[in-house]
Amino acid sequence: MSVTKIGDRVKRVDAVQKARGEAKYVCDMTFDDMQYAYMVRSTVPRGKILNIHLPELPEGYYFISAKDIPAKNELWMIAKDWRCFAEDYVLYVGETIGLVVGPDRGVLKDLKSKIVIDYEEQIPAVSIDDGINCVGGPMFPEKNSNVMCELFCEKGKPMDEVFAEADEVFEETITTPYQEHVHLETNSAIATYEDGKFVFYASAQCPFYIRKSIAGLLDIPYGDIIIRQATTGGAFGGKEHFPDVLCGALLVAENVIRKPIKMVFDREEDTQFSVKRHPSKCIYKTAIKDGKITGVYGHIYYNCGAYLSSSYVVLQRGVFHANGVYTFPNTYLKGEGIGTNTFPTCAFRGFGAPQTLFAIETHMDHIARHLGVDPLDFKKQYLCKQGDETTTNGHIIEEVKLPEMLDVITKESDYYRKVKEYTPGCGKGIGIAIYNHGGAFTGNGEQAIIKAHSRLVKKGDRVTILVGSTEMGQGFKTSLRKICAATLGISIDDVDYPDPDTSKVVDSGPTAASRSTMIVGKLVERAAQQMKERWDEGDFDVEVEYEHPEGYPWDQATFRGDAYLGYGWGVACVEVEVDKLTNEVKTTGIWSSHEIGKAIDELIVHGQINGGIIQSLGYGSMEKLENRKGFFRQKSMSDYVIPTSMDFPKQFYHIQENPYPWGPYGAKGMGELVFNGASAAFVDAVERAFNTKFNSIPIPPEDIEEALKNVQ
């Protein structure tokens, strides 16, 4: 078989199996004596549980709840605040109170419908403003507030001095909404008891996270729990921590029942009762002197829901991206994560960056129009460059190729001609956004927190990759096998990469944070280099551990230093035509350029660009998810709509090379980057086409109607 090279165009290793329907997802798996489980959930957003009235349970049927937890009722995500089963009180609609478990799903649904729970209801805090104002009383009485987490970073002079010296201060508030992941496969897991161990088959991004999170419920060693990732049909962050919530409850049930138990969410359940993207409220105050920005103050609020999950880390990334791709002389950026009585928000492609990047890009557009200059020309003056001081007092380490990328995009899209031709309000518009995404965990987190490992096993002429990183549809099996094969000088067909099983693979860290190619890919490249040197030694293993480059300090206590060693960079341009009868917006052109170091597999990268940009355009244009009184108004895929291929045209894409010294073959992260900017470019284009201004997304026709009314 031929030797695989990085530049080769290869067929995705999982393509045929998935296209033929042969891949086995959790819902396809069956076991003898299979039991099913449904969650019994809170139907009030905040209140005391007074009584739980159970119907008579037929033999073989169980109601599992907090009383069945032998040790601590907590899931260990980043903190340990998320209860496996609510007892005494509930904090949000959809909080797990119990499981009904038994052999027949029809009987279970019937039993579930007959469970009556009496509550003493309390007034919920739902929105960010509710949370700030402690509506219904503070969620954290000891702090007398709903602030779950907070941070700030500052650079340069104090902002009051900067404001005092300014000609004017441009202030505005920009809000971004919830977003649902809509992974093709809903959340699902099976628990079994095999050879004295609790074994889980889960649709999940991070098998090792699950093990760590749930072991405390029974107070058992990690080794007594085995997580086997099943084929995972999409995740987007929605299966980073949330599988813990399914698996934790199943573990408690499994400990009682000791039969295979399967739980698969219906789409409506997944839409209403799973984690979401954090809604945000971003207040910017920008000091302008002689037509130039002299300082930016940003106060960022994220709605975290009732439990912390990953919110503090999401908020940090939001704050670190809140100045966009610009270098301003003085900045003060503050973030507060607000607790509310809503379903907890968690990881979602971009992990906090899309909110603030949308806000700063839109804010910059608005300032430019206020000053009467073209937004792109205005932004170009502030683009950060290698060596510039960042808002966390670190530095931009790499060469920034944005000027070259902007040249490509303005030329391909004919931006400058169209800007002149499309007068404001003429019904046509073109918009542009510039963005970045810090690769991998913040600061020295890869070393201090994760300490990732990779292991390669050689047997004859075949090599097996044993890592905990997961394929969830993003193409990582193909990319990683390609890196391994190309480094060893063998064929990709001679490399195996089985779905991870925590009892067999080493912990390479979570499949998140755009770190898989950049960090785990490098670990596999290093292991493969070592293996290649010893190739003739017969059958052997190689294991390597992550090493952080020297000389890039980071202090996690004060958030100072080099937050990211390498960023992905992006430019997106969107052209629209609007229908003034109905306010419908038709996107007529999409152009993008992304600097990702090096594309390990161009086909996969292209797929990520197409998907990320469409997902971002859905976020900006149509994906409306509202929470009223603690309940999501949109409950299914017919009222929460995501774009189809009919909604957006074919895209022009450009990949800018700029090899990254610490990534495999020069590659950096890219899975999240491609989500981070198109929504702002879209809104910019629509603003120009209607000659109006938007301070929130999404902007479906009825919201455009509202904005136009406010202008008149």
Binding site: D110, L581, T582
Partner: protein, 288 residues
Amino acid sequence: MEQVKCYMPQTLQEALEIRNETHATILAGGSDLMVSKSMGAGITPAFSGPVMLIAGVKELKGIRALPDGSVEIGALTTSAEISRSELVHPLLRDAASRMGAIALRNSATIGGNIGNASPKGDMPQPLILLDAMVVLKSIDSERTIKVDDYILGSKKTALSDNEIITKVILPPQNFTHIFFRKIGMRRANAISKLTLSAAAVVKDGIVVDFRASSGAAGPKVARSRAAEEMLIGKTLQELPEVKDAFLDAWNNVISPHAMPEYRRNSTRRMLAYFIDALAAGHPEGRVD
């Protein structure tokens, strides 16, 4: 879980007998019922009484031109077939072609769509504009009524518990100008936020006929003959004078709850656009 009886008749006569005896729920394409009765994966849908799967009744399928120029559409004709048929009026074809996704259009039927009488259903809106009739048959009778009279409100119809919808009849039309818009939450596979059809016959500079109907506008499709009368008989030169009064009248027809500002305003803008186009002597054909 109680079991329910399920019937699969092969002829209309058989179906009428079953319906008469059991009042079974009629399931055609199943695209609405199987969603509303779904209990989740792996669980039998929860029908409260007997069900009749009527898809095997061949007599209820197909589209035929009648000698008087009318077109007869069998109740089991799918949206996909309607959207492709040259015999069918373009306003109905447009609506049928924008329903749901391809798979749904291949199973959903016209009988089911009007039988379900959802306010957001796609076909009732053009059918009511076209003055379409629906034929309801029972074991011992047959009656033909306007679709507008058949649909009583949201999910409410004039169908008796022993009747079956057998066909829809489109009377011949000679509109010189037509307009159709569906505004969904996205460009394809979306439930309507708002639909509007309008049609006119202009002859020798006079508006001989004018009709409009708004879908997703309230409990049922909104059409107002009183409002339409305001434009009928007017010359094209007179249209600008009566336009605002017509638009105000139309605005009063659509439901205050279902039609918040955006829907109301865009309906008004679209109708104004259509009337302006007529007044400006727009060439015959589509005005959209």
